[in-house]
């Protein structure tokens, strides 16, 4: 019997991303790839067929010339809290919501590669492995031992660096604690950001900076009207940036989009 998709998890991990502090350097994208053993782009990979569990999009206010203003928006799996569309469509039960953390997980060893989840995801935050994972000779020595590389033909996505959660949990258990120390569980993209634009924490704990910044004025979530309760909050003082909350993918409503 499949567990309910709507259970309230004990913890509710999420992020708060300050768009006004992101300079689009891409550190989060490569840190994610290093941590999760995502291979370099295959020769034929494009922005549509590449593997980027977190991708930074450049958006603009639609004006031309000197009035044009841009911003960078990192987009990753939004870890829907309610009725995650990818969970219900998977015929293989390869997607689930961890009741302990609220993290939407992907089990590539169960995945058939049918890509129903990709079609269902309103955020386009899932990626299909079109090629066998390949690293230049010798570079496979640098792979993270906590994460298994995935094969061609399966879907991948952000799992909030679940390997790090396991390591933090193991450390807590070794220390005789029931709860993990928040300092021990920080996803790679959060750790890598030179501008401190991404905060991560338990949204159920009102004392965390993440929970507080998620509810400050100027915060919003993407496609909130769908009722999927995404756990990635964005923040910007610029009103035009809030327009991305209405588009399935930042910039897709305009011809000028890139990425």
């Amino acid at each position: 019997m499949r567990p309910s998709n709507n259970q309230t998890p004990a913890a509710r991990y999420g992020m708060s991303i300050d768009v006004d502090r992101c300079n689009g350097c891409g550190s989060c994208m490569v840190a994610c790839a290093v941590e999760n053993n995502v291979p370099p782009a295959a020769a034929g990979a494009t922005d549509r067929t590449g593997l980027t569990w977190i991708r930074v999009f450049r958006i603009d206010n639609g004006a031309e010339g000197a009035d044009r203003r841009s911003a960078f928006v990192p987009v990753l799996c939004q870890h829907c809290g309610k009725d995650a569309p990818c969970v219900s469509v998977c015929p293989q039960q390869a997607v689930d919501v961890d009741p302990a953390t609220g993290i939407v997980g992907q089990m590539p060893e169960r995945c058939l590669g049918c890509r129903y989840c990709m079609a269902a995801c309103p955020y386009h935050a899932r990626y299909f492995n079109w090629w066998d994972p390949a690293w230049p000779a010798g570079m496979e020595k640098t792979l993270n031992p906590d994460v298994a590389p995935r094969m061609r033909g399966v879907v991948e996505k952000c799992n909030f660096c679940h390997g790090r959660w396991h390591a933090a949990k193991a450390k807590a258990v070794a220390n005789g604690k029931a709860e993990i120390d928040p300092a021990d569980y920080i996803p790679a993209c959060v750790e890598a950001c030179p501008n401190g634009a991404i905060q991560f924490g338990n949204l159920n704990d009102a004392a965390t900076a993440t929970a507080q910044s998620a509810h400050q004025p100027g915060s919003f979530r993407m496609l909130e009207s769908l009722g999927t309760d995404p756990k990635i909050y964005y923040h910007s003082k610029k009103n035009w940036v809030h327009e991305i909350s209405k588009a399935p993918r930042p910039g897709t409503a305009k011809e000028t989009s890139r990425g």
Binding site: P40, R55, P133, M151
Partner: protein, 562 residues
């Protein structure tokens, strides 16, 4: 009852049809997926004891503190200590395995060729000056009466925490200009005005962006004293040749602009050759040129170097990690070790006004055997021992008894006077930084700017575009940077140029098209990105050596289909 052949077929058919309604075939599909997960083509990460090592990133003078997560002796990820890292630094542990690395070179032949040419008119061009190895080059050149060349002879440092209003004319202040963590921390306290033609990463996060005409940096710099906000400026940052004079006039010298400090050196090194800017060398005067581009932080177009070489039979030897730079022109290209497989110190950072000394501790053993050590090669010309120069310098710093050592593993600050020389050396090699924050910074020398001016906007009717440069990137980057260059177009790849859609349409170029970039200096093969953020009439160029050889900032250019 007797079963007929028909019954057997019916039973078999019914069994097959019925099986479809059981979990068996679906289970088989799952199991197939499970089996294929582990087929031999999938690499298996090595397992072992997890340890942390600390070092300083040597990819640029920012020299960020790095914590390496290692499996046994092998680094598997890098992270910043007390702040994030840029994408190049985060993936630097891949560099030793880069397929484009130079793996062998005729070291013996090059040595013989230099010996045959003699030491007359010899020079070393150092593209990452300010390191201990730079002092080795200077000592060697003093000994053989050669020249030590660097892109700039009098580099300056900027005190951003002391600034209230910063005007940046085209500098990538928030995109790799200084130490990311320091700039990010200082950013909260100053107002940033960014003047440049495109809305760059820095312009995007600036308090005010002033769009200027492509190639108009110098003209804008000249107009700064008359601007309304000029009286509020603490410092002006950028490459325009007028900027040092503006900083002097607004009183930034000695307040926010200082001579770039260097850590103390042994007394015996002080007779080293002076730093000479390449532009100050007479044309056609260098017979033997040794170029250290192994950890280059800047690139000088080849035609500016070539002009300095004698006309008859010059000899150029370059120490490089790849064949993409000056190796294309040199008679001998000798492979070198790369960060993080080589020990060396990091040059002073542009945003640090106090002396500092940071050693980039090797994280892996050299992957390529038979590499050349540029310091040993150059020192051997003068008969100098170069092997212990790092230790000699550390001892000279220790002898001053000044400053503190910050160890990254525990974040502890220890005054140097409380440490024995061996303990000081040991801590530097375990991942630490020596800083001397009490040292009074020196105002910069009042010499002229050695920044090479932008190319003049010559009238060239058939070259309708004006080039806009971008931030310099390291010569060797991880294959994972394809996430940013290819799979997302987040950064302009080094071999690409970006055009406004109208200009691309006029040139009949599509996104991703192969094209030729033409300037008055030459031409270069490029790929095209169409980007509405690029102003019409401009071409934003990548930072590959091939492009920089033909296209400097503000150069007139055109892009045509290949």
């Amino acid at each position: 009852m007797r079963n007929s052949r028909r019954d057997i077929f019916k039973f078999a058919g019914g069994a097959v049809a019925g099986a479809l309604f059981t979990p068996a075939p679906w289970r088989l599909i799952t199991d197939t997926a499970l089996w294929s997960e582990n087929w031999p083509g999938i690499p298996r990460p090595a397992r072992g004891e997890i340890r942390a090592k600390f070092t300083n990133c040597a990819l640029c003078p920012a020299g960020c503190a790095v914590r390496a997560r290692c499996v046994g002796e092998q680094p598997v990820s890098l992270a910043g200590v007390g702040g994030g890292l840029c994408p190049f630094g985060l993936t630097a542990h891949h560099l030793p395995y880069h397929p484009a690395r130079l793996r062998q070179g005729p070291i013996g032949e090059a040595t013989a060729a230099v010996g045959k040419h003699g030491k007359e008119a010899i020079a070393v061009l150092d593209l990452n000056p300010g390191r201990t190895v730079s002092w080795t080059y200077r000592r060697a050149m003093a000994s053989v009466k050669g020249l030590y060349l660097a892109p700039e002879s009098q580099p300056v440092a900027y005190d951003l925490p002391a600034a209230k209003t910063v005007l940046s004319i085209g500098a990538a202040l928030l995109d790799g200009w200084g130490t990311p963590a320091n700039v990010s921390a200082a950013r909260r306290n100053f107002r940033l005005i960014q003047a440049e033609p495109t809305e760059s990463r820095t312009a995007m996060l600036a308090d005010e962006w002033i769009p200027i005409a492509p190639g108009g940096e110098s003209a804008f710099a000249q107009s700064v004293p008359g601007l309304a906000f000029a009286k509020d400026l603490s410092v002006v940052i950028g490459d325009a040749p007028e900027i040092p004079e503006i900083n002097r006039r607004i009183g930034a010298f000695g307040k926010t602009v200082f001579a770039r400090p260097e850590a103390p050196v042994p007394d015996s090194w002080k007779g080293a050759a002076a730093v000479t800017a390449l532009d100050d060398v007479p044309d056609h005067s260098i017979g033997v040129l040794l170029i250290d581009e192994s950890s280059a932080v800047s690139y000088i177009p080849w035609h500016r170097i070539q002009r300095k070489l004698v006309r008859e039979n010059p000899l150029v030897v370059t120490f490089a990690a790849t064949r993409g730079g000056y190796a294309r022109y040199a008679q001998y290209a000798l492979p070198t070790a790369v960060y993080p497989e080589v020990s060396g110190d990091v040059a002073p950072a542009v945003d640090c006004v106090h002396p500092a000394f940071r050693i980039s501790v090797p994280l892996v053993a050299p992957v390529v055997t038979g590499v050349a050590n540029p310091a040993d090669f150059v020192a051997a010309l003068a008969g100098l021992p170069a092997t212990d120069s790092l230790r000699e310098r550390a001892d000279a710093i220790h002898k001053t008894g000044k400053g503190v050592v910050v160890t990254y593993a525990d974040g502890k600050e220890t005054p140097v006077k409380d440490l024995a020389a061996d303990a000081f050396w040991k801590s530097l090699n375990a991942g630490a930084a020596w800083t001397w924050a009490d040292a009074a910074p020196r105002p910069p020398a009042a010499g002229r700017s050695t920044v090479h001016p932008a190319e003049a906007l010559e009238s060239a009717a058939d070259l309708p575009l004006v080039a806009i440069g971008g931030p310099q990137t390291p010569g060797l980057v991880s294959p994972l940077m394809t996430k940013l260059y290819q799979e997302s177009n987040l950064r302009l790849a080094p071999n690409r140029v970006a055009l406004h859609p109208d200009d691309a349409r006029a040139a009949k170029l599509a996104n991703g098209a192969h094209a030729t970039l033409q300037t008055l200096t030459g031409k270069c093969a490029v790929e095209v990105t169409i980007d509405p953020a690029v102003p019409p009439g401009a071409v934003q160029v990548g930072s590959s050596p091939g492009i920089q050889d033909v296209c400097g900032p503000a150069a007139r250019a055109k892009v045509v289909r290949a």
